[in-house]
Amino acid sequence: MTLLVATNITKTFGPLVAVDDVSLTIDSNEVVGLIGPNGSGKSTLLHTLCGRTLPDSGSIKLNNREIARMSPIRRARSGMAIKFQLARIYGQKTVRENLLLALQAETSLIGLLFSRTRHRFDSDIEVLLSDFGLEDFVNVKAGELSHGAQQWLEIAMAMARKPALLLLDEPTAGMSPAERQSTGELITIAAQKCGILIVEHDLGFIRSMCDRINVMHQGSIVAVGTPSEIEKDERVKEVYLTRV
């Protein structure tokens, strides 16, 4: 079933066309990769998908609902979650509080004020902690976690609301191979519950994770296909695979 349909997205900054008439689809339970050299427009495309910027034109449908002009808040409430490139977690708060923050986002304000859901989410937190291997750090301040653990915490927070679509912006940036492998496993688990879009530099990681890969270059998607198809694509080789 098709989860996300983005059609003819265009976004310009002054004379610079960052995203040029791009279309993209993601099915539920599908892991889609988006690769391309820096400056190819993949970050801008991601930003229009998550609502950080609004596209100049084009349509984005999540579960058949038009979201292209929605605020990030409403997108989040319609089932979209994002993990940013730099882990954006609440460093001053404990891991538990971070997870609670993600879980309680849709609790009513009165409910929050009277802390009605403080313990209702305990079991969810336990599950997330064990899923993401964070049991030992539950009362540690998130800012004191290792770099990898911070990334996992953010993925856990993104997964907390059981989103339909998860956007991951460079989930393995700066990770060691071991951490990278663990991240891959986490994403595989997550993929059973939702559709995922991964924006990555690391082609190897993308290749091992994704069902389908989009290659962007100079604002356009130049190729779409399975990892093996992409590897054979001449155009992709030209723009991308000459690089390591």
């Binding site: 954006r88 609440y90 009605r116």
Partner: protein, 334 residues
Amino acid sequence: MVIKGRNAAAIAIIVAIAAASPFIFIFGNDYITGTLTRILILGLLVLSVELAWGQTGMFTLGQAVFFGVGAYSAAVVAKDYGITDVIAILSVAGFAGLIIGLLIGAFLFTGRRVSELYVALFTLALAYAAQRLATSWSAIGAANGIPGIPFPTLFGLKLDSGPILFYLALVVFAIFFFICLWVVNSQFGLTMNAIRDDEERAEFFGYRRQTIQVLVFTGTAGLAAVGGGLFAITEGFVSPSLLGIALSTSAVLWVVLGGKGTFLGPLLALAILQILDRRMQDAFPQFWPIAIGGLLLITIVFLPKGIMSIPQVLRERKSQRVLRHSAPIREDIQ
């Protein structure tokens, strides 16, 4: 657990003040009780700045506007309408603050996100405009303000002596202090902090950032206004300086000196400065205002988290020498 500790501190403060208060009856006079009363009243203003800025990241340099709105509405109600019941006066004051706070909060925080500095300058200009307006508005006494506000009553009993007014302020302060603690320790408080630490991240979780900011801003306006109302009925006068830049920046100064992000620090800074202020002003009248500026500057430069962070700073100095474990490598990513 942390919460328990915080509450313990809060309870300790209230109990200590309450325990000390009989001595005020025995040894104190109206000047000393008046000073303590004023500390408690300004404490409400400090709490409101701390809630808005320290807890939610809304850098308000104009919080005295709401204090003044509360004070003026209490003065008008008590003097012109002859309503002296404390509960009625404070309700009106608080309500007036809530309305003005809601209007300004909605104007500031709905729509496009604005930066913290923008909020600061906006509220500063607001304080300027408000004092201006009060100074020119003859219906509320213009520059002279409103003097001769009658003593308040409670269930028909006249509250007309220093110690009684002190207890009134203590009770009101305690009520709102606990409400503040309760809010901050609730899940809502966690959300406030989340907005303070990373507004955008919170939005991407689906928090209605605008609603929460407007709500908190409105609440703090109401809190400051209750303080203003209390000021009007205990001091017996209001003047335009109550809603101006000077008091607004003083409130921020107390929060900075005490330590943004804590309740105890700012209240402590307020208490110490209020007690020191008169003594120092009499001892070094020419020097004291300059010293306040110097103190602020030194604090900002060398102790950005205020006096409450002194133990922490000392601890960190020590632990810095113990190098941390070799954490995972992290490239300087964009």
